[in-house]
Amino acid sequence: MTMTVPGERSLTALAMLRSRLHFLWYLTRRSPLTVVGFLIILLVIIMVIGAPLIAPYDPNKVMLSSRLLPPSSIHWFGTDEVGRDLFSRVVYGSRASCGAAFMIVFISMSVGVFLGCLSGVVGGMFDSAMMRTMDVVLALPALVLAMALAAALGPSLFNSMLAVAIVRIPAYVRLSRGQTLSLRERIFVKASRTFGASNLYILRWHLLPNALSPLIVQATLDLGGIVLIAAALSFIGLGAQPPTAEWGALVSSGRSFILDQWWYGTFPGLAILVTAMGCNLLGDGIRDMLDPRLGPSE
């Protein structure tokens, strides 16, 4: 009957924001572990973005006079065999490790969702061929396949990223295809067709938004596993090459000193552990929030 007055609208927007914040608070109170996961991921993101501000030293600066120093107030995580500050290297390493993990999830998710939706919408032979191909990729152990791909492409951070991304694609293809197939039969999609919506419109406005929540959960949970795989590839020398600071590579070079200089391998290893755990906690939490029907895990 009447259009809303602008002031009124902003007021309702404020009320909406408040109720949303309240809702968030309710959710966090219900699962404190999710908050822990969220804080860890937040910390990692801050570390990735603000590495130059946080790191006290140049991560690649060699100081032969201060080789293999134990953790102290000057070198929080100690130093390595050529005197580089390990804290700075772990902080900068987050850029390589987590940056790679984010990129991998981004690549495999966008490619996977695109192929999956296409497969679900097109159907027929295309769908069968796509799904069998994905089954073949899934049949091979992820780490072994990623190793083979990375070795074939040549050892570098970018190539190992590509390898892991390819290995992770099938999960997204299967997930988004399944979502597309079930959503396609929903009445609002059919109704939209009767109003003359094009396939593209249906894909963008009906299929994607409704398929998103399981995809977000999958991506967050994946992130932890991918941090591990990417670090593993670097650990065996197929990923980041020296002198690049990368957590897996740091653990790898710290391995030979682990008995006498425990801090060398331990701190980068802890960084991997904490990040992967944070991703899993957050992923679990998001799943519980987005799909209350499943109930909290454990």
């Binding site: 259009m3 109003f195 003359g196 919506a197 094009s198 938004p209």
Partner: protein, 336 residues
Amino acid sequence: MTDIGMKPHALSIENLSLEFPTYDGAVKALDGVTIQVGNAEIVGLVGESGCGKSVTTMAATRLLPEGRYKITQGTIRLFGRDPTVMSDEDLQQVRGKLVSTIFQEPMNALNPTIRIGKQLVGVIRRHEAISRAAAETVAANILSDMLIPEPSRIMQAYPFELSGGMRQRVLIAMAFSCNPGLIIADEPTTALDVTVQAAILRLIQGRARRTGTSVVFISHNIAVVSQICDRLYIMYAGRIVESGPTRAVLDSPQHPYTRALLRCLPERVQPKAQLESIPGTVPNLLDPPAGCFYRPRCLEADERCHAKPQSTTLTGGQVVACWQRSKSQTHVSNEA
């Protein structure tokens, strides 16, 4: 009733037969269905579940799954055009602009992740090249025409915030939003409370009358459709068994099935009396009985009913396909 004037009918289905091939053989969903919907006419399509009401209209708008059905005979014309040979682009233009559908379940016919207003605006802007703001005004106007209080607030809401009746109003608004020439209302009140059914019926009727929109109203409830329809078609097992002006059909139902349907209405029964039902079930369309499909359940059936009954036009525009009525026939024809 069947005059072919200057303007083509909104919907004209002639002698349409359609089947779904399955592993067990062809399911003959429609058998010689003839339906005419004139301009600005409200027509009811009545029958039990599975008698082909929805299939008829879905065939007309080509919403049946492609490649899973076969039209064995007959023609469909939507405003004079044949939907079975349209390109996908033409179909998308026609749907929404010329024909819209209102679905049975308002609970599931709106996208749960998008605000009402955005969904409405999406439909409007799909067919009309107007700005977002203009489309929003149009949407708000239609919503208030559907007696929705505070349309601007409703447009900001997500579907789950609305009741079933409200959602159905939104869907009706959506169907009317591009001023289509024909609206197919597929049991729009079935999922609703009886208290809002009448209101929804009035909304559809009122808007259709004001804008000169034709409506095909599908229902299994003859009482509901008779309230707003000019003419009725009674379907049974994929065939039209009786048709005619609403009053004539209700006052003097000719086909035994129509009579049985009217007897089954609860509102005609004395309190605490036994409710009527029609004995037997709808025939299996994989292997329908010979002759009249209603014969196995019909109380008046005799030997003649083993042959397929011809349509008989009675005075007053009523058409009935039954051997028992052909005695008083005026002339026999295959057309309604």
